[in-house]
């Protein structure tokens, strides 16, 4: 039998919703940190002139940008609500229903983002 070098245990165990909640929290935070410099630079256009900022704001009126903004609102909201869950887990008495809370957090953030989109399109 030919001996080949393989990676063992590549198939990893089933992830729970808590694992995904932590992943969503981490990814949302990471994307927000990457987005922030762009956000700050856009606002900094006001240093150039009001017209520059106005031009940028009107660019954001397009549906494609509004869709991205909905994504950003989701990221911010899910990071906020997920963060509240973590603070509660670490500082308040232990609860056994964290799987439910994690699901609720993601659902609530999705609703907020959807509401945002409906208001701005």
């Amino acid at each position: 039998m030919t001996i080949t070098v393989e990676n063992r245990n590549e198939r990893t165990h089933r992830r729970s919703i808590l694992w995904y909640a932590a992943l969503v929290h981490r990814i949302s935070g990471l994307l927000l940190v990457c987005f922030l410099p762009l956000h700050f630079l856009a606002l900094g256009l006001a240093l150039e002139s009001e017209a520059q900022l106005e031009g940028f704001l009107r660019w954001t009126d397009s549906s494609a940008v509004k869709l991205s903004e909905m994504g950003l609102v989701f990221l911010l909201t899910v990071h906020l609500i997920g963060g509240v869950r973590v603070l509660a887990l670490e500082n308040l008495s232990w609860r056994n229903d964290h799987k439910n809370l994690a699901g609720l957090a993601i659902a609530a953030a999705a609703i907020v983002a959807a509401l945002f989109f409906l208001r701005v399109i």
């Binding site: 063992r8 198939r11 694992w19 932590a22 973590v86 887990l89 500082n91």
Partner: protein
């Protein structure tokens, strides 16, 4: 041949082996860190644990297979292995529960160096136990009266909830932070630190809280609760670690930690 047929006939009452026996396809890790999977064909039985499968392979097909077990009844924690991707006690894992479509993949516990085949080197696990100051520091002598701690005492209940750990390493193997961060002490060591921190008789808590507040201490836990999900004794190290986060924060604000 005659002998073995008679032997299996006596097993027929409780552990049926049919003439057309279903076979399990079992992939088993061989080698050290670098290695490969060997595939074995093992008769499937009605009542069969993964440890039974490994033992059958070693006794009937390949005596060079290395694996570890002791009590085989779910008390010692020695038989931990990775079964179809999840860390489990093989003596308490029924094949019918994990081998849908009769496929099994067995490897050593994750996050630990491999000695050979299915045997992991537990040294790192126990070293982190020591680093977390996971040992009881006595404050009384045999001449002192026994400490009177009522069972309903809140701190004692915290101890009771965490104390049943038998150091099997399953939580350590399941934990992503252990995988991502070499310095992380891990769920078992921190769970033990919590049980000792709540023990009114123990005198080593200042050092212990300091030990678990360094890089790789309790604050590195991201509360995935994979440890809780896989612990065969239904312990919850995430809950213990959350408690340690509170204890260390309080100690820090009091100025007890340097």
């Amino acid at each position: 041949m005659q002998v073995s047929r008679e032997h299996s006939a006596t097993l027929d009452r409780t552990n049926t082996v049919n003439a057309n026996v279903t076979k399990l396809e079992v992939r088993v890790w061989r080698g050290g860190e670098a290695g490969h999977y060997d595939t074995f064909s093992v008769p499937k039985r009605t009542n069969q644990t993964v440890l039974d499968v490994v033992t059958w392979i070693q006794r009937n097909l390949d005596p060079t297979l290395s694996y570890r077990f002791a009590c085989r009844v779910g008390m010692c924690g020695s038989c931990g292995m990775t079964v179809n991707g999840a860390p489990r006690w093989t003596c308490r894992t029924h094949v019918s529960k994990v081998a849908s479509d009769n496929l099994l993949e067995i490897g050593p516990l994750a996050n630990l160096p491999v000695i050979k085949d299915l045997t992991a080197d537990m040294s790192r696990f126990f070293e982190k136990w020591q680093q977390a100051e996971g040992t009881f520091v006595p404050t009384k002598t045999r001449k002192d009266p026994i400490a009177a701690i009522p069972p309903q005492d809140a701190a004692r209940q915290n101890v009771d909830e965490a104390i049943e750990c038998i150091n099997c390493g399953v939580c350590f193997a399941a934990c992503d932070v252990v995988r991502w961060n070499d310095d992380y002490l891990g769920p078992a060591a921190l769970n033990r630190a919590w049980s000792l921190a709540n023990d009114a008789r123990d005198g080593g808590n200042t050092n212990r809280l300091r030990a678990i507040s360094a890089t790789g201490g309790c604050h590195a836990c991201h509360s995935h609760q994979s440890c809780m999900q896989h612990c065969p004794k239904d312990l919850n190290p995430t809950r213990s670690i959350a408690g340690l986060k509170r204890l260390t924060m309080e100690a820090y604000l009091r100025g007890d930690l340097s």
